[in-house]
């Protein structure tokens, strides 16, 4: 039975994305907000809105009992968690299940399994999906680490079992550094995740990050919707994604897609999930992890396959069958997404909350903007700095890059520092245009990605002209432009409304 009302336990662009899917399905959308988000953009897309707590995320968007409580009061039958916040929290999924609410995502058991990196590696290996050579269990004593490092060969990487986002990771190139790196990794893991467990595996030197989108329903039907390449990352966070990947040919694509489906099936995972792989220089792929949510970069898959992923998520959660056969899903053309962040690329990507004084979003053929902001809004400091996503589609990769470049030029966000210029510079690098890049792209192309000097004088002249204008000094230049103190209506003179 399709839901009548869904609570969207998120904010920003993804809350709006989900509300749009609800509208198209005839489902009422319930929005939630923290104190600081009282006037946030996503609330304008909801049929009903509820306050869920104070501004810090722990008090509101991460507060399981508040979210469940509001869902009950609002009369929602299901909760869509979006991404981030509670999206991959098995306790939350369980709390939903226990309150009789449908969690739009996998079951709490599947979530718990894919959330544990060591357990999920062991599980997928059983069905023949390749994993990076390394430890099967959390390492205990340093001799075990040493033995494994020798077996897989240096360089190796020490990783936190509960990890993510690069925390607790240490690359080790010689045996000498090993012990100190394990200790450092454990300390960092303990402080970041409350669990000091670390393990060791082979370090892949120039990896490409390639993930496959999979859908699986409660009737055992499973289909993949091809790959997304997400190798352009800063601080282990994706900023540009594209599909198809320039690194895959049809055979490799098919093999990886089949492997991704196996992972989802063995984990008894339902709903939309993403299977992440690393691809090495010799085109070997290794399972990394499952992202158990709708992903930030899901729109590029929608653009090339024509499948609405959020709609599929809702339908699957309601018990519907996936109405897609693997053979019917095709990749058509090329799509790229750029994530617009409130951050300063000229200062270590430091977040820059503040007021948006002016906003102009691009439009045109093949351009999609999934945005969570509006002009005049104060971007709060409490949450992720993502402002919006710009997605382009074109018939091939070259045209898509050109289209993205031009759309980024048309995208103006004034009042807070942002990465729009930086994203445009990425489009112009030779490595990106050739499709020849890996996850070290940002670090290795620093010079080509620094702000160009060429137009600085033009900008300074413009600022000086604006200052002159403000002081009331006439800056008219040759009389082609008339200064208006009157409206065009006044200049028209006497006028009256025609009767017919």
């Amino acid at each position: 039975m399709m839901f009548k009302k869904i609570l969207i336990a998120n904010r920003g662009e993804i809350a709006i994305r989900i509300a749009r899917a609800c509208r198209e399905l005839g489902i009422r959308a319930v929005g939630v907000y923290s104190t600081v988000d009282e006037n946030a953009h996503h609330l304008r897309y909801m049929d009903d809105t509820h306050w869920i707590g104070d501004s810090p995320p722990q008090a509101s968007y991460l507060n399981i009992s508040n979210v469940i409580d509001v869902a009950g009061r609002a009369g929602a039958q299901a909760i869509h968690p979006g991404y981030g916040f509670l999206a991959e929290n098995s306790d939350f999924a369980k709390a939903c299940e226990e309150s009789g609410l449908v969690f739009i995502g996998p079951s709490s058991n599947a979530l718990a399994l894919v959330g544990d990196k060591v357990a999920s590696r062991n599980t997928v290996q059983k069905v023949g999906v390749p994993i990076i050579p390394g430890m099967r269990t959390v390492g205990k004593d340093s001799s075990g680490f040493k033995k494994m490092a020798k077996k897989v060969g240096y360089p190796v990487i020490v990783k936190a079992s509960m990890g993510g986002g690069g925390k607790g990771m240490r690359i080790v190139r010689t045996e000498k550094e090993l012990e100190a790196s394990i200790a450092a990794g454990q300390r960092e893991a303990k402080s970041a995740f409350g669990d000091a467990s670390v393990y060791l595996e082979k370090y892949i030197e120039k990896p490409r990050h390639i993930e496959f989108q999979v859908l699986r329903d409660h009737h055992g039907n499973v289909a993949h919707l091809f790959e997304r390449e997400c190798s352009i990352q800063r601080r282990h966070q994706k900023i540009i994604e594209e599909t198809p990947s320039a690194a895959l040919d049809d055979e490799l694509r098919m093999n990886m897609g089949e492997a991704a489906k196996k992972v989802i099936e063995i984990a008894e995972y339902t709903n939309a999930g993403t299977v992440e792989f690393l691809l090495d220089e010799n085109r070997n792929f290794y399972f990394l992890e499952v992202n158990a949510r709708v992903q930030v970069e899901h729109p590029i898959t929608e653009m090339v396959t024509g499948v609405d992923l959020v709609r599929q998520q809702i339908r699957i959660a309601a018990g519907d069958k996936i109405n897609l056969s693997q053979a019917s899903i095709k990749q058509r053309g090329h799509a790229i997404e750029a994530r617009i962040y409130a951050e300063d690329p000229e200062n270590n990507f430091l977040p820059c909350p503040g007021r948006i004084l002016y906003l102009n979003e691009p439009s045109g053929p093949g351009i999609r903007v999934d945005s969570g902001i509006y002009q005049g809004w104060d971007v709060p400091p409490h949450y992720d700095p993502i402002l919006s996503k710009l997605i382009v589609w074109a018939e091939n990769r070259d045209v898509a890059i050109e289209r993205m470049s031009n759309a980024l030029k048309d995208y103006i966000v004034l009042g807070i520092k942002n990465n729009l210029g930086y994203l445009k510079r990425i489009m112009g690098t030779s490595k990106f245009t050739k499709g020849d890049y890996d996850t070290h792209f940002i670090d290795e192309n620093e010079e080509e990605l620094s702000i160009p000097k060429e137009n600085i004088h033009v900008v300074l002249v413009a600022a000086a002209l604006l200052a002159a204008e403000k002081k009331g000094v006439s800056v008219e230049s040759g009389g082609t432009q008339v200064r208006r103190d009157t409206t065009p209506w006044q200049e028209l003179g006497h006028w009256e409304i025609c009767e017919d």
């Binding site: 300063d344 949450y383 004034l414 729009l420 702000i451 002249v461 413009a462 600022a463 800056v475 432009q481």
Partner: protein, 168 residues
């Protein structure tokens, strides 16, 4: 007309002179001819040495945000007093400030503490990122302007160190 503007820590002097069909702008050794100026709301267009440029802008007191050809710029007006390099110890040497507004999550020092250059004096968190603010030099903590858990603005002094000269 003269303007002193700061862009990415560099101060530029821009001179504007009115001419019969526009402006002459001088920055250092470079000279530009400006014509066909059009200013309306957040838009300024003009020709510079014949080339048409379209710039979007918005102002927040002394700070101008500008966008041209896909690049975003932040340009600040420099007051005449600031531009002369007279003060011996720059302001920032005596205090730590956050580059970003955020939540003051940790304040590991107290007034009277002796600190070493590079020691963490405060940790500010914004948008899921923690930023450690370190002592710019050796010194003694003289004043603390906030408490843990408080919201701080960008460029507000959080911890102040005793003046170097008073000690000597």
């Amino acid at each position: 007309m003269e303007n002193r503007l700061r862009h990415l820590n560099e101060i530029h002097l821009i001179k504007l002179a009115k001419e019969k069909d526009g402006y002459k702008a001088i920055i250092g050794d470079a000279e530009y001819k400006v014509s066909d100026l059009f200013v309306k709301e957040n838009l300024i267009c003009f020709r510079i040495d014949g080339e048409l440029r379209v710039i979007y802008h918005a102002q927040d007191s002394g700070t101008r945000y500008m966008a041209l050809a896909g690049e975003h710029y932040v340009v600040e007006t420099v007051k005449a007093r600031e531009s002369g390099a007279k003060s011996t110890v720059p302001q920032e040497e005596n205090s730590v400030t956050s580059q970003m507004p955020g939540l003051l999550v940790k304040l590991p020092v107290a007034v009277g503490d002796k600190v070493k250059a590079g020691e963490t004096l405060a940790i500010v968190e914004a948008m899921k990122m923690q930023n450690e603010l370190r002592a710019p030099r050796d010194g003694t903590v003289e004043k603390i302007n906030f408490q843990e858990g408080e919201q701080v603005d960008a460029l507000q002094a959080i911890v102040e160190l005793a003046d170097l000269h008073e000690k000597q």
